[in-house]
Symmetry: C2
Subunit: 254 residues, 2 copies
C-alpha cells in the first residue's frame, strides 16, 4: 500500500488508473466541493445543518489550494483523479485537472467520505454483497440560503447477522458519515427502483438473507447543486476520493 502522498502524486501525474474505492487502506478519504467565495457562506451553513451528508473536515482560505490540516503540501487542483464541473446545476464536464479553471476566490471544502470506513468494515467481516451503490433519496436536507435538495446515500447489503456490527463500527466514524441513516426497506427513503442508481453498477436486487444499510453520502452536494441550480461548482466525481494524510483512527470517537 503506497502512502497518501505517493497516491496523490500518482493521481496528479496520471499514473493512478480508476477510482480510490478500497485502494487507500485506512487513510481518510474525502469528497470535495469548490465554490467561489460569494457562495461559500451559504454552503458552510448548509454543512453545519446537515452534518450527516456533509461532515466538514476542512475549509481552505480563498485562493489557497492546500488543505493545511488534512494534507500539508497537497495541491487540490491536481490530486483528485476525476473532477466534475457544474454550471447552473448541470454537469458540464469531467476533467482530471482543474488548474485551468482555478480562480483566486475559490474556497475548497473537504467532506469526510464513507470510502474511509470500508477497510474498518472489512476488518470486522462486513463486506457488502453488492458493493457500494449510490441512490438519491426523498429525504430533504435542511436548506441554507440557495442550497437545498435531497440527500444521497450509499447502499451496502450485509447478511442479517452482520448488521449490528456494521452499525457499531461505523458509529465510531462520525467524521465520515457515522452510523447508517436507514436500515431495511429502500422504499421507505424513496428508493423505489434499485436499478435507478447514481453512477454505474446497478445491483441485481438485494440478495436473500441480506439487509440493506444506507449511509449519508458526500455526493449529496452534487444533487443539491442540480436541485438548486448553483451557478458554478467543482466537485470530485463519485468514487474518486481525495486521499488525506490522516488515518481513520485519527478521527474516530473513543
Amino acid at each position: 500500500m503506497p502512502d497518501a502522498k505517493t497516491i496523490r502524486h500518482q493521481i496528479s501525474i496520471g499514473e493512478w488508473c480508476g477510482t480510490t474505492v478500497g485502494r487507500a487502506g485506512r487513510h481518510v478519504q474525502t469528497g470535495l466541493v469548490i465554490l467561489p467565495k460569494a457562495e461559500a457562506y451559504d454552503f458552510l451553513v448548509f454543512c453545519q445543518r446537515n452534518p450527516q451528508p456533509c461532515p466538514l473536515l476542512e475549509v481552505t482560505d480563498p485562493g489557497c489550494p492546500t488543505p493545511q490540516t488534512l494534507a500539508p503540501g497537497a495541491d487540490i487542483r491536481h490530486e483528485v483523479g476525476l473532477y466534475s464541473v457544474w454550471r447552473d446545476g448541470e454537469l458540464v464536464e469531467e476533467v482530471t485537472d482543474i488548474a485551468p479553471l482555478w480562480q483566486d476566490d475559490f474556497v475548497a471544502f473537504f467532506l469526510g467520505s464513507s470510502l474511509t470506513f470500508l477497510q474498518a468494515l472489512a476488518d470486522a467481516g462486513c463486506v457488502s454483497s453488492v458493493g457500494v451503490v449510490l441512490y438519491k433519496t426523498n429525504i430533504m436536507c435542511k436548506p441554507a440560503g440557495r442550497f437545498a435538495g435531497p440527500m444521497v446515500v450509499t447502499m451496502q447489503t450485509l447478511p442479517a447477522a452482520k448488521v449490528a456490527r456494521a452499525v457499531q463500527v461505523t458509529s465510531r466514524f462520525q467524521a465520515t458519515h457515522g452510523a447508517p441513516i436507514h436500515i431495511g426497506d429502500p422504499a421507505a427513503i424513496g428508493i423505489t427502483d434499485l436499478a435507478q442508481t447514481i453512477g454505474p453498477a446497478p445491483p441485481n436486487g438485494i440478495p436473500p438473507g441480506d439487509v440493506a444499510l444506507f449511509w449519508a453520502c458526500s455526493v449529496t452536494p452534487q444533487t443539491v447543486a442540480q436541485a438548486s441550480a448553483i451557478p458554478f461548482m467543482i466537485t470530485h466525481s463519485s468514487g474518486h476520493g481525495f486521499v488525506t494524510d490522516l488515518k481513520d483512527h485519527d478521527l474516530a470517537v473513543p
Copy 2:
C-alpha cells in the same frame, strides 16, 4: 426541575436569578455569539477549525432570533440571563435583554457548553472540589480571517481515582467540548497563577490528592474578540447559558 421552556420564560421576565450553572438538569446548554452577517463567514470558518472550544450546534438565518432546532419558538433576544456587549474588542456593557440592540443582519451562533455535562459528571461521582473555574491559556486557536486568539478553558479538580471516569463520561459529549484538552499541571498550558481567573471565585489552589482537568470552553470567542478587536459582538456572559430543549443524551456519541 422546570422544563427548558419554563426556564427560558422565567429568564425572559426576570424571575430567574443568577446563573444556569447546575440548574438545568440534563438540558443541553449553549454559549452564544451574535455577529453582523459581514463577520459571520470568518466566524463560521473559525468554528470549523476549532471544534473543541467552538462546537457549533446551530446558526440562525440573518435577522432570525429563533434557533429552529435547539429551541423552536424561543427568542434569543430575551432568553439568556446576562449578555455581554463587545465593541472593538472591549466589553462595553452587560445587559439582560438585547432587543434594543437587535439588527436585521444579526446571525446567532450556538456553541455547546460544558455546563451541559456537569450533571452527567455528578451522576458518575465526579464533582469538582473547586467548582468550575475559567482560565485563559497559551494555546492559540487556529485563526480564520480576522478571528484569532487564545483558548479559554474550564478547570475542575477531582480525586485522582476519578480522573479516568471523568474522561470517559465527557468523551461522549463531543458536541459540548468532549474530553479534557489537558490533565495535570496548569503551567503546561500557560496558567501560571491560579488566582488569575476569568470571572469570580478564584480557588485556593488544587487540593492535595486532586488532579486538575481542563476542558475547552465556549467563552473562547470572547477572548478572541478581545485579541482581534472585533468591531461588534454580543455573547452570553460566563455562567449564563442558553437552555435548549435538547437533553444531553440527544447529542451524545454511542
